[in-house]
Symmetry: C2
Subunit: 881 residues, 2 copies
């Protein structure tokens, strides 16, 4: 690395960030390109580090180099520090290698003093402006460098305005400001027992020291600790000639994007103010004009600006976000950086830039923020809408919805069928609410986490859902809900945004999802580069078809429990669960068999020719039953003679059964393959339904690639036993149908024990599918339902964890377990197919990790398939880079 | 390995088990020692394997070698197969390398036929006996070799007895038996269309084939599959000359132990019958005489028997279990093997044998079954008692207790204080039951697993407890309980055995625990050899003192939650939990501080000079509150106007708070260090109490080695944050007390993520303590509370798991995670102390595993400390061997 103490803008380049800081490197790069950047130099991070070694003193070598840099700057600008006719004024800005709030702010107009202020007045022909600059400079310098409380200056300003009888700063005239400058200087004398420094070089030294010191102020230290930014980086200081956009009608200042950041249209987009300073544009006192008006008002500058924008785009090969100032007809570029844009614009710009020959397809694919893409695939709250957000819950299922509040699922169903848009508002939902959820446009609950019933069902249906919104207090009897001071009644209109968790009062404008040609183009390019297969998690033929449209190459997770929860089946499922013996259970299962078979028939048909991985029943059985608490209340009331007393015995019996099935920690209870081992008849029915459906389709000439997946395996013996069950059922079906079906049998890898014994398990599996939801729960010991509502938000706020591990795969812990599993599994069985079907399968950084483990595929919700295609391509391209 | 097909007893030795099978090797060894063993030979496992390769045929080479062996046997015995004056009779027995039920039984008296039966009659001067032998031989051979149903012979026998008008087989006379032999031979002809084989060599070939075939019968195949015995082992066949103890009053047969198997006393212990066959001793028709009587009756044989017993003990260096027969004054040893004994006898014998110079101290230590020892440390049900076991639940806390049934904790407390022995019988217990548990002699619950409240509290108090005994249906209102047809009322006496889970009707005799001098001697020897430190899990000064008495070298786990649960503190704890804000919580904590300080003062004092590891609060807070279900019922009833309606608002408020704290999966919820992070004031209070107590004791001149342990760490950041909390509290206490205490800070390793990121964590920890209860739960995804009551019993019955992983550490899975953690942890921090404080810390095979990982210590319940000392020594000795 270079190790200069001071470096003129003309000597650096964009790559020198570590030495010059981000800001300094950027200014140097533009200077190097020959763009009209005000001259200046950077005091480097090397100087900062030595400053601390020198005991926080500016030492001779640095002072000598600064002096030389100032001399060169004076030569280049033809201005001079302290000159009474052409004074050099500079801005001083901190700039670390990584952007770091909490450090010293900008100081403008350094170099002003009691004499140069007159020179500035003359140069701008605006004495009021010069004085205003001077008093601002004293205030800024006094606060930041001399440590004088901001309030001292503000009090003096207020007092003066009172005396002058004016309301706004801008109403103060030249004379007032002259007085204020004197008052400010007195404040400085009082606070520091020294006059305000009049020597520009002295001012500069003090400012540089202040910037260096700010590297170790409290806010900066805390920020670095939390964000794990190394202490040793240090900060640079940028010293740059001031330019003024407020020197008259031939001056102006503005900001622009080189393309439309909202749509991507290839046309300058921005605004400017004539005869103004940069801060005026932001302050909003005057209304800026659209950038196109500049062509009319200052055609030469307009032309130059367009030329520079093209040059910067050609150089950076990216849409730029630019700040400029025109001083007396001369254009200066003060800053350029890559412009932020919407997902839609990002896609369009990338495709356009390929057409324009600026970038190639790889670069286009790499450039889209895959995470941002997801938003394009759901209906969204219009970004321009003014919203009255009354609460925020967990963003449980993306998309936005508006409707009238209903507190009861029967009513939701009735109104929904009438064509009304309803939002179902419940403390939480149970399988008894399914019919209401089906007809609602959105679900809002006050309890439950990202894997609560409402969340899981809503995501499965692609319906907006906000969960665990604990700020909402629901009174089901009164059919009202209270949020702070707002009382919501049945029939009131609200909107929910399942992507952000926001709950909004009233109707909000929504934006429809869009799958433009450009979007498809990017995804086709992505498919050329990616190595990971992309499958979808889908439980219905509709979802399967949607996934296929979005480019899924198979179903990686077909959950069978949602089929059990449908309203017409739940009574049969409940009678199966409550059966007193195997025979009773088998009778109920016989009723379910043809229904399940029809489910699989539809999904296999929709996915013709592509693999479909069916997971056998996973959740604990009591999820299909009413809650013990509700039943206990019913029993107590019936015992007290309240209600239909004839139901007492039946309710008691039901309570007893529910209690039998109740578990202390259902997540770790009798579920997954444990169900298949305790009640083999359930899994047998499911396997039979799968095989029958496949046989039926084969007979119709339709190709089926069914795969059976055993959930929650912790020990190889469980898988072996379930393999035997599948094999014997297959033999039976083969005998009945005459079709001996080829079928893969694999297992979820979702428990730590399965990971560390993956070699044993791989000896009995055709494929592994990582269930990273459960694996994250067991690796961390976090119940997702509880964590996301209770301690996880605090963990994230305190940066105890870098990310929510249920959203972004935890590579160090969960990822380590996966790495062990892949190594052991492939070591034993080189043909083992390995995928992931947890929610991480649709999250870009997690997909990159899966790529790095050389997994075969990721599987995610249909709506995330395009995201996954792109992320997989990016991972492949980045690994090669 | 040797590969003979046939081997005479004189050619083999004890080490040849794989070739000769266990029985054959044993007979060969005794022959080699020159003991009077009836002659014979073994057809080897090599022959068995080739038999299957030859298509289940005896091939010429084998037949030739068998013929030679028979010839040699005839020469040695002076008897001859088929001889009419001195016929050779043999027994034929299977004998695999590992003991394997399910294979062919013994065939006795092979060689008998229509002519040799007369010779036998002459030789024994007992024609009736000879005929009885012949008919038994036909029946045995017919069933086992010829596959004729047992029932066919039994029916003929019954019919004959009816015709003869007698009731017992022994009432049949010579003539009857002669008839029966003819009938049996007819049955054989009918079933096989062949006469009963008369040629002894033919009989032998058929018997050998039958033994080989039985290696692959269904029962044997299933047994091997379940017990993972390799198919390729094969079985051997032992052919041995018959001897008869029923040749007159100079003949006898008996069984004996070389020492007393119950007490260990060094004196022959056993019984014999004059003029009898071995099976008569077992059949119990005649009453055998104690072995000492032999001295009087047959002094020469008695002397020889004593000499042989000494020789066998000197040879095997083990107490032997011997079968012998005296034929016409000549003593034969038919079998010897290591004798089974009680734990008490084992200890005494080992110590005696060291004194006798038979074995050394190492051998003595290795010889005790550490698992069996635990039983000596609790009061037990007398092994001789006849019991009426009415149900079996989970063996939640060892020891036995008898008392009257009480259904209510208040009543249990009242009666207990009156000096009554009570068994508290509840569906499950909560913190509200503590006062009842304290006064009960045992706890029995119908719900809950090995980590349920009742189980944990009872184990902590060393009180017998049987949990989750679901067969018991409790009616709290009626104060009755039903088990099958038995109805238990309040006041009925029952007994429980917490070591086996048995529930027994009525009072049973109990045996007091015993810590004999011999026991202490063994443990002192163990201490010389072991490398692992032994600590105890103890929460009270009483437990700490007991642990110290038993030899604990420190406290490895002092749980603080039990202190919170004591009856006088629970209201304060509840007000702390229900506080609406930090201030309210701090006020309650201020009340708890002096109480906690007193707790720690007592424990530190009891453990003077030894380390005490205190774990900060671990369980979810709602464990300290009443259940939501109960409150919901209360609210519903109050709303209906039933009960003290003035309490409605308060009950509703309480329900709301309980609901706020309620969790879907409390095991994975807001507990452990998460509590410390969410409510730092709780942990601060605990740390302050620890430090204050230590300062107080130091001021009194008592040495304290306190260690603070942070539970449930999943990410290094959690530990770092808690370290800061401890450090700042320590500074505060140092300022207040003037004592700056040295204190170790470490963490439980009880989550898979902590294991795989142990390097990061070790950078911030002085010690690791594996919490293998929780680690087993999360690695397997098994909630112990649910698993042990629901699917785990079935898993163990079906051998899906070799052991209950909560009892015996699962080395392949959980152990692999521990191995990873130890490797990463020590790699980062070579000074890291590593221990275990889960219940596995007291289980011998788990202790051996901890030794193999080179951990520093194990910690277990006080009562298990002696077991752990011994097991640790055995692990060290075995590793060196």
């Amino acid at each position: 690395m270079r190790n200069e103490l001071v470096s003129p803008f003309s000597a650096g380049r964009a790559e020198d960030k570590e030495l010059l800081g981000g800001k300094g490197a950027n200014l140097a790069e533009m200077t190097r390109l020959g763009l009209p950047v005000p001259s200046g130099f950077t005091i480097t991070t090397v100087a900062c580090k030595q400053y601390y070694q020198e005991g926080k003193q500016l030492w001779p070598e640095l002072l000598q180099q600064m002096e030389q840099a100032i001399g060169e700057l004076e030569n280049r600008t033809g201005k001079k520090f302290g000159s009474t006719d052409n004074p050099l004024l500079v801005s001083v800005r901190s700039g670390a290698p990584v952007s770091m709030p909490g450090m010293m702010d900008t100081i403008l107009n350094l170099g002003l003093n009691d004499t140069t202020v007159d020179a500035l007045a003359k140069a701008t022909a605006n004495p009021r402006f010069a004085l205003d600059c001077y008093r601002r400079f004293i205030q800024m310098f006094g606060g930041v460098v001399l440590g004088i409380p901001h309030h001292d200056f503000e009090a003096a300003l207020s007092k003066l305005k009172d005396q002058a009888g004016v309301r706004l700063d801008t109403d103060l005239d030249e004379q007032h400001l002259a007085t204020l400058v004197e008052t400010y200087k007195d404040i400085v004398v009082k606070a520091t027992r020294n006059p305000f420094p009049q020597q520009p070089v002295e001012q500069l030294k003090m400012a540089v020291k202040a910037v260096f010191d700010s590297w170790n102020n409290n806010r900066a230290v805390v920020y670095r600790r939390i964000n794990k930014i190394p202490e040793h980086y240090g900060t640079a200081v940028n010293v740059q000639e001031m330019v003024f956009g407020n020197c008259g009608d031939d001056s102006a200042t503005g900001v622009l994007f080189t393309r439309n950041p909202s749509t991507g249209e290839n046309k300058l987009y921005g605004e400017f103010l004539v005869n103004a300073q940069g801060e005026d544009v932001v302050a909003g006192i005057r209304t800026p004009q659209p950038i196109a008006r500049l062509e009319e008002l200052m055609p030469a500058s307009w032309e130059e600006l367009n030329r520079i924008c093209k040059q910067l785009e050609a150089h950076y090969k990216e849409m730029q976000d630019i700040e400029f100032t025109i001083e007396k007809g001369k254009l200066f570029i003060l800053q350029t950086r890559t412009g932020k844009r919407t997902a839609r614009a990002a896609v369009n710009i990338a495709v356009d830039m390929v057409a324009e020959g600026l970038i190639d397809k790889k670069e286009a694919v790499l450039r889209i923020d895959a995470g941002q893409l997801g938003g394009l695939l759901h209906r969204q709250v219009s970004p321009d809408a003014k919203l009255e957000v009354i609460a925020t819950g967990l963003p449980a299922s993306p998309g936005a919805g508006c409707g009238i509040i209903v507190f009861d699922s029967d009513e939701a169903e009735a109104l929904g069928k009438e064509g009304k848009q309803v939002i179902l508002l419940r403390p939480e939902t149970t399988p008894d609410d399914i019919h209401g959820i089906v007809e609602a446009v959105g679900i809002l609950t006050s309890r439950g986490g990202m894997t609560s019933h409402a969340a899981v069902v809503a995501r499965g249906m692609g319906k907006p859902c906000v969960c665990g919104c604990e700020a909402i207090k629901i009174d089901l009897k009164a059919e009202t809900a209270q949020v702070g001071n707002v009382v919501l009644k049945k029939g009131d209109v609200i909107s929910i945004d399942g992507g952000s968790g926001r709950v909004i009062l009233g109707q909000v404008p929504l934006v429809e999802p869009e799958l433009s040609d450009e979007f498809n183009t990017i995804l086709q390019w992505a498919d050329e580069f990616r190595e990971l297969g992309i499958r979808a998690n889908a439980d219905t033929p509709q979802d399967a078809l949607r996934a296929r449209e979005f480019g899924a190459e198979g179903i990686g997770l077909c959950r069978t429990e949602h089929m059990f929860m449908a309203a017409d089946r739940l009574p049969i499922v409940q009678s199966m669960i409550l059966a007193e013996d195997t025979e009773g259970r088998e009778a109920a299962l016989a009723q379910l068999l043809p229904i399940q078979q029809q489910d699989f028939y539809g999904i296999f048909k929709a996915m013709e020719g592509l693999p479909v991985t069916v997971r056998l029943l996973d959740p604990p059985l009591h999820e299909f039953l009413p809650s013990a608490e509700k039943l206990a209340v019913d029993v107590a009331l019936l015992e007290a003679g309240i209600g239909d007393v004839s139901k007492l015995d039946a309710t008691r019996a039901l309570l007893r059964q529910v209690r039998n099935l109740q578990e202390a920690n259902p997540m770790l209870g009798n579920r997954g393959c444990r169900l298949g081992l305790m009640y083999p008849e359930i899994y047998q029915m499911q396997v039979e339904a799968i095989l029958n459906a496949a046989a039926q389709l084969l007979a119709e000439g339709i190709d089926v690639k069914a795969e059976i997946m055993i959930p929650l395996v912790s020990h190889v013996n469980e898988l072996e036993s379930m393999q035997e069950l599948v094999a014997s059922t297959r033999e039976r079906v083969a005998a009945e149908t005459g079709k001996n079906l080829d079928i893969l049998i694999g297992t979820m890898i979702e428990l730590p024990r399965a990971c560390v014994t993956a070699d044993e398990i791989a000896g009995h599996a055709d494929f592994f599918s990582f269930g990273t939801n459960d694996l994250t729960q067991t690796a961390f010991g976090f119940s997702r339902d509880d964590a996301e509502g209770k301690f996880l938000p605090a963990y994230l706020a305190e940066k105890l964890l870098p990310d929510n591990p249920f959203a972004v795969l935890d590579r160090k812990g969960v990822g380590k377990l996966m790495e062990i599993a892949v190594g052991l599994g492939r070591g034993k069985n080189s043909k083992l197919k390995i995928g992931i079907c947890g929610e991480h399968g649709g999250e870009p950084s997690s997909i990159a990790f899966c790529h790095s483990l050389k997994m075969n595929y990721v599987s995610c919700s249909p709506y995330r398939v395009p995201v996954a295609r792109l992320a997989a391509a990016q991972a492949a391209l980045q690994q090669k880079a």
